[in-house]
Symmetry: C2
Subunit: 200 residues, 2 copies
Amino acid sequence: MRKGAETRERILDQAVRLASRDGLDGLTIGTLSTELGLSKSGLFAHFGSKDELQLQVLQAAVERFEQTVIRPALSAPRGEPRIRAFFENWLVWEDDPSMPGGCLLVAASVELDDRPGPQRDFLSRAHQDRFQFMVKAARLAVEAGHFRSDLDPGQLAFELNAIVLGYHHVQRMLRDARAGDYARAAFERLLAHSRRSSHE
Amino acid sequence: MRKGAETRERILDQAVRLASRDGLDGLTIGTLSTELGLSKSGLFAHFGSKDELQLQVLQAAVERFEQTVIRPALSAPRGEPRIRAFFENWLVWEDDPSMPGGCLLVAASVELDDRPGPQRDFLSRAHQDRFQFMVKAARLAVEAGHFRSDLDPGQLAFELNAIVLGYHHVQRMLRDARAGDYARAAFERLLAHSRRSSHE
DNA sequence: GACGAAATAGAACGATCGTTCGTATAGTTA
DNA sequence: TAACTATACGAACGATCGTTCTATTTCGTC
């Protein structure tokens, strides 16, 4: 019962890596087991089905996101500093070397957005939670007096999310080195607009 | 030579539809031929390889984007009106019923961004062209006096692109009906910031 | 050290993948 | 209409997919 959990983690670690490249469907039990030096059936026994493997891969990715991005942001002071920490950690996350094919949550989101099932349900919930985290962070920033009182927290969450998606695209598809500069400039513009009496 | 081109178009039409759901790899010659009432080998003969099929699917999608979004924008007056037309047509494109799985260019971009090959090369080029189109449109808007002279056209292109990606995500993964409102509000904020002496 | 359980391996399954080949049909041209 | 070519089909290929089964090895506990 000890050993099993260890290998399961080792499997999921490599599975996240592979799925970031090839997608959740492109992720294959055969290649995954080969790369890990395991037998196909031995690996399979840990999950019982490919659906379950995909689900656990998604869960692993979400857990890591919370650990890498959410938690550090929560330990920053409420208001603008927290939002800033969240954003910067998110950018770091997007280039995490443990996902050489780019953020798995982005890849899986595009892959699953129109395919009903438990994988989509789980991922959708995770994205909603992340969105609500940003909404709440924006509200706290308003309460702290950092942001203007008529700011729409949902709008800020949308734009924050959009900036990171834009970064992902320009960085990975266009391979434009200015991706980070663009993203940070957009973020600063968003912050400036969100602060008290920004322009009217 | 006549008949062949017709069926080829019919194949590509359905292929774009299927690939928008299942991705370019998920697109399968077997299911594609079945849905069209063709034999696998008969369909295959039109392309010679799956790689070539994928490439032509991408080309078909890019051509349609140019026809649906780029060309109408070009027939709008230079400057802000053109950018506005481009953006609105882009949003319409994102919900085009001929791609029930969402914009193929977004899906393929995430799928191919880390897989070298002619498909990625072609798609990357298409995205660069689209980006440059936005850059040029922004420059024209500056020249027309609609936008401030110190505006960074690349930055505007980045943010425009980001807004649409955010729309795609919130609309399709979160299934939030406010996606359009969010996107348009972000767009108006971007325009306001880009106009002459917006806030300083 | 022996025993029961957990973990892994190996072989095989039907299904489907992309692809090839030979053949028949359909369409175009002379 | 005859000849020719483009188009489509059907069967089969080896490879790989997820999955199932049985057997073997490894582990934790008494």
